[in-house]
Point group: C2
Chain length 222, copies 2
């Protein structure tokens, strides 16, 4: 069976991603990060999703990005915005996807897995630079040149199947694959039980996605 590492935050996009990787026949090794995020409830969601969608295993790597701070998600003194902002919002975590992909590449090497799935999306998104196709393409080169896998020629490919989908399309796709979005947590300010604020950028995009898809929104709001 083909092996893949799947980056799993516990949110809507990455749950859909895992369902897509499973549909495509991969044995999925789900990878989450305890990175000092304020919405740690997403890690409980990731565990639920990994189990429900039958990942072969699920690891959570501890990586304390609150040491460097600089984001509303990793520095509790920076509030999560309650309205869309101009430019790159304060919820941007510096270099987060680069760090996550780097660890994923490392794990893929250890496993001998040839694929990494990442749920980045550059349509209905918050404008984070590390969600753009050009970033993923550049990282592909790093994965090739910076690894034993690349030197040995079997390489590790980065797959971003949600990249060009709208949020509504993602929701429809996941629903068709049996994803229960009620178990996912997208909210940046989720409480300890995973209940959503309904007003942060992540909640806003998610809510609109269900509305545009014409599907009921199963999110647990508080």
């Amino acid at each position: 069976m083909k092996e893949a590492v799947v980056l799993l935050s516990g949110g809507l996009d990455s749950a859909t991603l895992l369902a897509v990787a499973r549909r495509d026949g991969y044995a999925c090794h789900a990878l989450s990060f305890a990175y000092g995020q304020r919405h740690r409830a997403e890690l409980d969601a990731a565990a639920r999703v990994a189990k429900a969608l039958r990942a072969v295993e699920h690891k959570t790597v501890t990586l304390d990005l609150s040491t460097i701070g600089g984001s509303a998600l990793t520095d509790i003194s920076i509030p999560v915005p309650d309205h869309p902002s101009e430019g790159i919002p304060t919820t941007y975590v510096p270099a987060r996807n680069t760090v996550f992909l780097a660890v994923a590449v490392g794990w893929a090497e250890v496993l001998g897995a040839g694929q990494i799935f990442i749920g980045v999306n550059a349509v209905d998104y918050s404008g984070y630079p590390d969600c753009r196709p050009e970033f993923i393409a550049a990282f592909q080169e790093v994965a090739k040149l910076g690894t034993k896998a690349g030197v040995e020629g079997w390489g590790v490919s980065i797959q971003a199947p949600l990249q060009k989908l709208s949020k509504a399309e993602i929701v429809r796709l996941g629903t068709s694959l049996g994803v229960d979005y009620g178990m996912t947590v997208s909210c940046y300010s989720a409480d300890s039980q995973g209940r959503a604020c309904g007003i942060c950028d992540s909640c806003r995009l998610r809510r609109l996605g269900f509305a545009e898809a014409g599907l009921p929104d199963p999110t647990h709001y508080r």
Copy 2:
């Protein structure tokens, strides 16, 4: 004053690197990782070196790469080789420099620092793929495309001033800049007091460096 993030392992190369960055007039923010390495004594060495070479601050980020294992340095069940190996040795830590550079880029963004210094070397080295110039060049693209700094146009540059130097040249350079190598720890099997085994690949390259430079070896062997 120009600001730089300097990756500091506590070994010979990165101590020289910090001295070079200081010579070049940078205010240096030293960055180390508690990554689950077996030779944790290098972290004490990093703290000593950061202080001695007057880094403006020194942070140690916790990042548990032993979760993914796959290296003699992060998996205690894989022995550190006591002789040079064919190809890439088992001390290679999958994607380590990619991970370290990624966090460094994130911190540089937070600080507004335009430079990252990394002590990779592709002359007297162990053949790690993520020490090669082509890897550093590829990562430079990732740093440009995956960050707010890149989007805003001020960017973050990766500097690898030791890349083309032999170990002897590195030792001579550092000595001329006043580096006390007695406070550094390079050994993969260093004991808790930082004393070196004298036989691992890292010890071997270091020892040869002092010999070829015609300088006394201040390493504390056990």
